[in-house]
């Protein structure tokens, strides 16, 4: 799967080069792959690129895990208690729709400068898709399993662990896949609101400098990280569902 994904990636690169070459796209609009690669190598040699990647990766992983765990738990609560869900919905939508840039100073005020506000931001955007997936998975899941749990008088934890989580897993994983893409965006925003390291920071310096190669290069790095996340989720999906996916 990974191999084939890489094949697709190479195809994209070829297409990209072709577009740049055929249409003679100037590099301030869309630099070619080689140009971007050169800039990446340059950054690697001069700008401690790896350290920046490490910083961002740490933030993403921490935020993603936090958001996923809270999302799953909230999903369970919301699916069981629709009133709580309705009650929380406006707040959640507030957090999701309010432009992060607008609330950034507040986040800094409450959480201080450093990785925390970034992690929280990533957790916030991760939370929503995971929670939605969980709620749907539980709400529209097989009714007969609910009967079984009721007859066996399973504790909330037992029915969550043995019945609800497995049956909601496809929807939750779909939510997590969506969350990966949002997490990448949040990582950038988080670093835009005040940072001096990380991929998002390098990206904003590229923007400030109208250096499209750096922008595209950083976008590409983030995409690759996102893709890696996505593949991990796919792996979990295939591992866990392959057994009972009936097709």
């Amino acid at each position: 799967m990974l191999l084939r994904g890489i094949a697709g990636l190479i195809a994209t690169l070829v297409l990209w080069t072709a577009i740049v070459f055929i249409f003679q796209v100037p590099s301030f609009l869309l630099p070619g792959p080689m140009e971007v690669l050169n800039r990446l190598v340059f950054l690697f040699e001069n700008a401690k690129l790896l350290r920046h990647i490490g910083v961002t990766l740490t933030e993403i992983v921490a935020g993603f895990v936090l958001g996923t765990v809270i999302g799953i738990l909230a999903g369970v609560v919301f699916a069981r208690l629709p009133r709580v869900e309705r009650f929380a919905t406006p707040l959640i939508l507030l957090l999701q729709t309010a432009p992060k840039i607008a609330i950034a100073p507040l986040l800094l005020l409450w959480l201080g400068i450093g990785p925390t506000p970034k992690i929280v931001l990533i957790a916030i955007v991760t939370f929503f898709p995971v929670m939605s997936g969980m709620v749907t998975g539980l709400r529209y899941g097989e009714g007969s399993f609910r009967d079984l749990a009721a007859v066996l008088k399973l504790s909330p934890w037992q029915s969550f662990w043995h019945i609800e989580l497995p049956s909601a897993l496809p929807a939750v994983l779909a939510g997590m896949a969506v969350a990966t893409t949002l997490a990448m965006t949040a990582a950038v925003i988080g670093e835009l609101m005040g940072a001096n390291e990380g991929i998002g920071y390098l990206l904003s310096s590229g923007q400030e400098n109208s250096d499209t190669s750096v922008v595209i290069g950083m976008v590409l790095l983030l995409s690759l990280i996102g893709w890696a996340f996505y593949e991990i989720i796919e792996l979990i999906r295939r591992r866990s569902l392959g057994r009972f996916q009936l097709s």
Binding site: Q158, H162, P166
Partner: protein
């Protein structure tokens, strides 16, 4: 019909229970008021035309659904899981193997894995699924799935067992065997069993009492005491009293003319 059972002997007390479903296409009276007292250790069979409320009654007793009126009392003080339920369609967790499915009630009630495996393997053997312990439900035939569900319902030894057409998808021979196994288990454990079936032979062969229901609206038509001696076996099936009862049940089901035509 016994109306005088000592308080302690009463296991299930159903008084004026009825159920109406409200659906888009109108309300459906699934069950008109039913009253019956079931003693501890009794074996009750329920027969009746399709759609007469048999499953509904079992669901009400198990507490899965709420009655529209009337009261149901179970005398199962202290038991965490008073009822075992064999659903009309086998409800197996598709992501668990057969042995995991059968052991599931034990796993979730704190029984040790080793103990659970032992019980589960015995039951799997009993229902004729030896060799399929590690199979997933989708790899079994319809009848095999149903048998796995039966094994699961028995695994944690509930005092009350509700079985909704448990043997409808298995062949005659297996069915006979399972009937005898069920009787054996019932006799050795003293469970209270309610079994829904479309086979009047099965109903008569197994039960202490047979409830006959009628359709549209579903209601309890009559209850037959089965006076056949215990333990039952091949001789029972030769007993003229047995055949008389079967014939009587057939007649009961035939009049008033059933709903299908």
């Amino acid at each position: 019909m016994e109306f005088l059972v000592s308080q302690s002997e009463r296991m299930i007390d159903i008084a004026g229970v009825h159920k109406t479903f409200v659906a888009d296409h109108g309300t459906v009276t699934a069950l008109e008021p039913v009253s019956i007292t079931i003693k501890e250790g009794e074996f009750i069979s329920i027969v009746g035309p399709s759609g007469c409320g048999k499953s509904t009654l079992l669901r009400l007793i198990s507490g899965l659904d709420q009655a529209s009126g009337g009261s149901i009392k179970l005398d199962v003080s202290g038991r965490k899981r008073p009822v075992g339920f064999v659903f009309q369609e086998p409800v197996l967790l598709p992501w668990k193997t057969i042995i995991d499915n059968v052991r599931f009630p034990l796993d979730t009630s704190g029984v040790s894995r080793a103990q659970g495996d032992k019980t589960a393997l015995d039951l799997i053997k009993m229902v004729g699924l030896a060799g399929f312990e590690k199979a997933l439900p989708r790899q079994l035939s319809g009848g095999m799935r149903q048998r796995a569900a039966i094994a699961r319902a028995l695994s944690d030894d509930p005092p009350i067992l509700l079985m909704d057409e448990p043997f409808s998808a298995v062949d005659l021979l297996t069915r006979d065997n399972l009937n005898d196994e069920l009787l054996r288990i019932w006799q050795s454990t003293g469970k209270t069993i309610l079994l829904v079936t479309h086979s009047v032979e099965e109903a008569a062969y197994l039960a202490d009492r047979v409830m006959v229901m009628t359709a549209r609206p579903g209601k309890l038509k009559c209850i037959h005491n089965v006076e056949l001696p215990r333990p039952r076996g091949e001789e029972t099936k030769l007993d003229p009293a047995y055949h008389a009862l079967v014939a009587q049940l057939r007649r009961d089901l035939r009049t008033p003319a059933g709903e299908a035509h």
